[in-house]
């Protein structure tokens, strides 16, 4: 935990430290955190750009209702990062508009 991340130090001990990949870059995360929490802690703000106006969106309601925190997660578009737990090696990418589809069924 670096001194410039937004995690609150006390009074909990977080889970195991692991690594997620955000737009290809390694970002630390703790087991038990949601993707959104890990991103916000690391200073990532823009999660996606909207289809119509390419406006930046991020975490807003924190409870899975507003659907603004969507990102590409492990190649799947439209994933609510505030409801998705991190996993070691999880791939997270900024979603541009509708996102991309890798065709996995």
């Amino acid at each position: 935990m670096t001194h410039d991340d937004l995690r609150i130090a006390t009074p909990v001990q977080r889970g195991r430290l692991l690594t997620i990949l955000v737009d290809g870059r390694e970002v630390p995360a703790y087991e038990g955190e949601t993707v959104a929490a890990a991103l916000l802690a690391a200073g990532y703000r823009t999660f996606r750009l909207t289809p119509r106006g390419q406006t930046p969106r991020s975490y807003f309601c924190g409870m899975g209702v507003c659907h603004d925190c969507l990102m590409m997660v492990d190649g799947l578009p439209n994933v609510r990062t505030c409801m998705t737990p991190v996993r070691d090696g999880l791939r997270v990418d900024t979603q541009h508009g509708l996102g991309e589809w890798d065709g996995r069924s």
């Binding site: 937004l6 995690r7 609150i8 130090a9 006390t10 009074p11 909990v12 001990q13 977080r14 889970g15 195991r16 703790y30 087991e31 038990g32 955190e33 949601t34 959104a36 929490a37 916000l40 802690a41 703000r45 823009t46 999660f47 909207t50 289809p51 119509r52 106006g53 406006t55 930046p56 969106r57 991020s58 975490y59 807003f60 309601c61 924190g62 409870m63 899975g64 209702v65 507003c66 659907h67 603004d68 439209n78 505030c82 409801m83 737990p85």
Partner: protein, 467 residues
């Protein structure tokens, strides 16, 4: 198809209390929640991988919630987590989706405890990264121990603002100001009503004092005007407002911040109660549609109850008391309690609710939503966040003759997004009311359809309904 004596939807304070009361009386209870853990929002627990060396240092809701959750778990309630109740058919068939499967079951009695969500308030800049709701900020700080930002403006109305500001300060963030929209004048008038509830008043006072001692300005009669920034928040502007929350121009005040927490109250989640066909009505005093209920908390559909914030936002104490009462009524309905015992218990439960109602009335009055809240947006402010439809586009449709929310939706796509109209619906009703000159109660709501929340098709194609 399986039949369950009592299905409770929602595992927050109200749902937990309902499951507890019913199960204690011997009712077969299934408790459904869409999250991975029980607790809802107010009793949100830490992730299981987080450890707490000294739980006394955590806010009291953790322990309170944990205790109730453990009690419910110990009562043998059938717990369905990560499960969405995506529809109710024929008032008693509950459709559940979990993982990659869906099932139908018959609920002899149904207790809905869906909770509420932050009232969405459009203003210029409200979609900028760094702007989040009070509920969202609390979840981030309480459950995941992450700060929304380093220097935060808190704006809204109600006691939750103090709680958020307190959480921010405890977490090491700077709070630029707490801006309460209500004038909060003549508080002494409320003293007689507050006397029986000194514990609540004391809590509020303690938070307020801590904030003042930290040098945080607590500004009354102030409302958010706009938030600036290119890709994220850099500045927030508030201004004074009158008693109707209408902004007073020329009184703007700016703060350089990197996060803005907005908390103008909550809106009950009505999807299931509406889909089931329960009657609802609009209460102007709390600016909410709520299900019509008997004193036993039963809706107009026999056997269907709604408890907690999902029936009208009233806080966790009321939620627990309502859950307890409904669980009791259900137990009696199913023949699990002797009539005499029931009479005593029910009287006690109803008495508790009456007692709490006094405090609620004070809160509702103090923090009553002013119509000015719906005048903060300008024509280019997004109304429908999902579909990126502006307030101006919606107003143009209304002026051209779309005077029902469904009509505005058909013409502009407002309400067609993934949030299913939750973020735009409340504001749209007010825009129509104002433009068409009709009371909000007569404007109506979007038609409620399944699914109550977006559900992957993979879940809906795999039917595991018990034969």
């Amino acid at each position: 198809m399986r039949s369950v004596e009592c299905v409770v939807i929602g595992g927050g304070p109200a749902g937990l209390a309902a499951a507890q009361a019913a199960a204690r009386a011997g009712v077969q209870v299934m408790l459904v929640d869409e999250n991975a853990q029980l607790g809802g929002q107010y009793y949100r627990q830490l992730p299981v991988t987080f450890q707490v060396p000294n739980s006394a240092r955590l806010p009291k809701e953790y322990a309170e919630g944990r205790t109730l959750i453990q009690e419910v778990q110990a009562l043998g309630v059938d717990l369905r987590l990560d499960t969405v109740a995506w529809a109710v058919f024929d008032a008693e068939i509950v459709a559940l989706a979990s993982g990659d499967a869906t099932e139908r079951l018959q609920a002899e009695t149904l207790i809905l405890a869906p909770g509420a969500y932050d009232r969405p308030v459009p203003f210029p800049g409200w979609t900028l990264p760094g702007v989040m709701t009070a509920g969202g900020a609390q979840n981030l700080m309480k459950a995941y121990r992450v700060l929304p930002g380093r220097r935060v403006l808190v704006a809204g109305s109600g006691p939750l603002l103090l709680v958020v500001a307190h959480s921010l300060l405890q977490g090491g963030a700077e709070v630029a100001a707490v801006c309460e929209a209500s004038p909060m004048r003549d508080l002494w008038r409320y003293a007689p009503w507050m006397l029986p509830h000194l514990n609540f008043a004391q809590q509020g006072y303690d938070y307020w004092r801590q904030i003042r001692e930290a040098g945080v300005p607590f500004l009354r009669g102030r409302i958010i005007r706009h938030v600036l920034g290119r890709t994220e928040v850099t500045r927030a502007v508030i201004s004074r407002c009158d008693e109707a929350w209408r902004p007073l121009s020329g009184t703007e005040q700016g703060f350089d911040v990197d996060a803005v927490v907005i908390g103008y109250g909550f809106v009950p989640s009505l999807e299931l109660s509406r889909l089931a066909g329960c009657e609802h009505r609009y209460l102007p005093e709390v600016d909410s549609w709520v299900p019509t209920r008997t004193p036993d908390l039963e809706t107009t559909l026999p056997g269907v109850f709604v408890v907690g914030d999902g029936a009208g936002v009233a806080g966790s104490a009321v939620a627990r008391a309502e859950g307890g009462l409904a669980g009791l009524v259900v137990a009696q309905r199913l023949g699990k309690i002797a009539e005499r015992d029931y009479g005593i218990l029910r009287a006690r439960a109803r008495g508790r609710l009456r007692h709490l109602a006094g405090f609620r009335r004070v809160m509702d009055s103090l923090y009553r939503v002013g119509p000015g809240l719906y005048s903060l947006a300008d024509d280019v402010t997004p109304l429908c966040r999902c579909e990126e439809i502006t307030v101006g586009e919606a107003l143009a449709a209304i002026r051209e003759g779309a005077t029902h929310p469904s009509e505005v939706k058909a013409w502009t796509r407002t309400g067609m997004g993934r949030c299913q109209g939750r973020m735009c619906g409340p504001t749209l009703a007010h825009l129509i009311a104002r433009t068409a000159g009709r009371p909000v109660a007569e404007v109506g709501l979007f038609t409620q359809r399944p699914p109550t929340k977006p559900v992957p098709l993979s879940a809906l194609i795999h039917d595991v309904t018990a034969v």
